[in-house]
Amino acid sequence: MANPAPKHDGRLLEIRNLRIEATSYPPGEPPKNITIVHDVSLTLERGKVLGLIGESGAGKSTIGLSSMAYGRGGVRITGGEVLLNGRDILKAGKRGIRRIRGREVCYVAQSAAAAFNPAHKLMDQVVEAALQHGTASRAEAEKRAKALFRKLSLPDPDNIGNRYPHQVSGGQLQRVMTAMALCSEPDLIVFDEPTTALDVTTQIDVLAAIKDAIRDTGVAALYITHDLAVVAQIADEIIVLRNGKLVEWGDTQQIIKEPRQEYTNQLVSVHRIDHQEKPATSSPILSVKNVTAAYGHGAIRVLKDVSVDIHPGQTLAVVGESGSGKSTLARAITGLLPPMEGTITFAGRTLANRLADRQREDLRELQMIYQMADVAMNPRQTVAEIIGRPLEFYFGMRGRQRDARVAELLDKIEMGKGFADRYPAELSGGQKQRVCIARALAAKPKLIICDEVTSALDPLVAHGILRLLLDLQAEEDVAYLFITHDLATVKAIADSIAVMYRGEVVRYGPKSQVLTPPFDDYTDLLLSSVPEMEVGWLERAISGRRMASAGN
């Protein structure tokens, strides 16, 4: 759209002393106001990218949305000013805000799959804002959209708009959403964790596409994420937030190279866990031999001739993108998806294919921890019931004996006895995952399958969980099958690694060997896609790639 000449010295967005509050309803007490954002001020110039980073609860999304005068989930903007193009949009009224949203400021959500209307074609949704505001005719808007599709390197840019949201992949959908935000040629785009839900190999493509689009269109952006390495690739300046307060604001280079605040330093410093690789033993605890598994009565083969070993007290990491079959491997081992061919040997015994045919002892010694801790626990059971059940079930412990053991386990996962009576809804994300670990440990297992156990957690919390898992491994001599797409995690805890691609193990061996060149193309792609906290990493990574990611 035709902008008036910038008469306010290039400042596009200026937030002054923003205060955002919400009302909480604690049990048994009168409702009280809590402040989510404490008097935060920031400015953003035309064509610049400002990164907002912090852990969950830091208020970064809340601040980002305030630039659209929007408060999500009942929060109220109670103080301060949000100046966009020189006028306070908090005072613009409903109609005024409606004229601004989708025209001067657009939004890209974290989950594009949830943000698109599944009943409409992509093109209709991409051009909607431009048509609503009358900034372009339908033909013009579609032409612009196709140009954007091409710029964002979407396949078949002329026709992809005729598809429905479920007909394109997650990474593509995220790029279509970026096109949607750019289509009405706004002055500002708010990116709310646009790559967090994507695989690393897909993330790099989306990041590069977003970066190019921002550069070519000259739009300004607020980029919200919890991943400092990601934001370092895109942002000109970075604001670090914690508990709704501004911790540090500076140039990207300065923030990642010479942070001035203690908290920023914590975020920036790579959390290296020193883990000594253990040598393979002669008798693996679990041995998967030539396993093939399929869904739909053999129609779709998701595991093809997979063979891996796990040694007692050691960790095998299984890495790969979504759809590579790594979770299916876990389902085959646990018996939830009986393999079509191949055998699984556990502690010297051959495991029955079907879960129903397995001995209780086999079940006890093979436990599992899930990615989403909040749905892995029955929300109607207290922590004591959740941890106590395996004790009752496998060891017949009752009453005081069980309670004592529960307290002991709570102690092991670094949580106090006071948590025993809590319900899962009363725990934080990290605490939930710890309780799940305690539940698995209660069975005194020989092997725990960890399915993406840290991917839903903030980096610092995830770090704590990994430390705990390693400590417990040393104490209890338990083996882990660690499923993940995060190579940093793998480096920290694995003894051996299996890289999976489209249902096959493409690289397998001790950690040092797998992570030593020469790499095959896929392992190289995976390794080079992990964002590094360095300006300019993205360009180098893209130019050095030998194969395209599956999501592209």
């Binding site: 397995r358 209780r360 599992m368 899930y370 929300p379 109607r380 079930f393 319900y423 899962p424």
Partner: protein, 274 residues
């Protein structure tokens, strides 16, 4: 869990009337001024100090018959609801957890039963069988359980795919534990709200049957039957038929108010603490 302070006004109203009806139902022989079949006055006498609600078409005390009617109506409806819930919920949960041929067989059979209108089905069965209280409870309970089955199966199928149920299966838990300890507590909120509704439908269904002459047989008193007995009076401006009809409505509303309140309490994930 049920803190006095948290009871809302509408819940108080519902609780009061529900308690009143229950009190009448339980202590009917002690609080009713006259016997249920005792002719104590003239036909359709107006309300007076002697007969608080007047008398009915045969000269029986309407208040006494209302009180005895509460006993039979509430008892049959409650028993039928209990039967339909135990049967429907257990079969529905089992079908969702076990799946396979059991699920298919049960669901198609239930579809078959549901394709026949309930009232017609009830009329046919009751015209063949003797109209005793046991038959009424069985017929009403079985017919209603089809609805409960549908709801429980749908709710349980959603919960059955959650990770915590998978975790229980991996632990080696039997179906009984999974149904009663993992699924049931999480399926309770929709079921409780349905419980109130089903109870009301049972009251209405029983009243409809009695009104048609196939329900509770005279001289036993029940509200639907009393509407039938006194309906001719309406032509002469005598309100005797409206009193049991009003009682049916009052019971329906008050039970639902209580169900709403219970639902609010049980849908909390913090054990009613938050």
């Amino acid at each position: 869990m049920f803190d006095i302070k948290t009871i809302t006004v509408s819940a108080w109203i519902g609780l009061f009337f529900t308690a009143l009806f229950l009190f009448c139902a339980i202590f009917a022989p002690w609080i009713a001024p006259y016997g249920k079949a005792e002719i104590v006055g003239g036909v359709w006498e107006p309300m007076s100090e002697q007969f608080w609600l007047g008398t009915d078409n045969l000269g029986r005390d309407l208040l006494s018959r209302m009180i005895y009617g509460a006993r039979i109506t509430v008892f049959i409806a409650a028993a039928a609801t209990a039967l339909s819930f135990s049967l429907g919920a257990i079969l529905g949960f089992t079908a969702a957890v076990v799946g396979g041929w059991f699920d298919t067989l049960m669901s198609r059979f239930i579809d078959l039963l549901m394709s026949i209108p309930t009232l017609i089905f009830g009329l046919v069965v009751l015209s063949v069988l003797p109209s005793t209280i046991i038959t009424l409870i069985l017929v009403m309970g079985l017919l209603d359980s089809t609805r409960v089955y549908r709801l429980s199966r749908a709710v349980a199928a959603d919960i059955n795919v959650m990770d915590f149920v998978e975790a229980a299966k991996l632990r080696g838990e039997g179906n009984a534990w999974i149904i009663f300890r993992e699924i049931l507590p999480n399926a309770l909120s929709p079921l409780v709200s349905e419980l109130g509704l089903r109870f009301i439908y049972a009251v209405l269904f029983l009243s409809a049957l009695s009104f048609l002459g196939l329900g509770v047989q005279p001289p036993e008193a029940d509200w639907g039957g009393m509407v039938k007995e006194n309906k001719e009076g309406i032509v002469f401006g005598i309100p005797a038929a409206l009193i049991p009809a009003g009682a049916i409505a009052a019971l329906a509303i008050s039970v639902n108010l209580v169900a709403d309140w219970v639902l609010n309490r049980t849908s909390s994930l913090k054990g009613g603490r938050g």
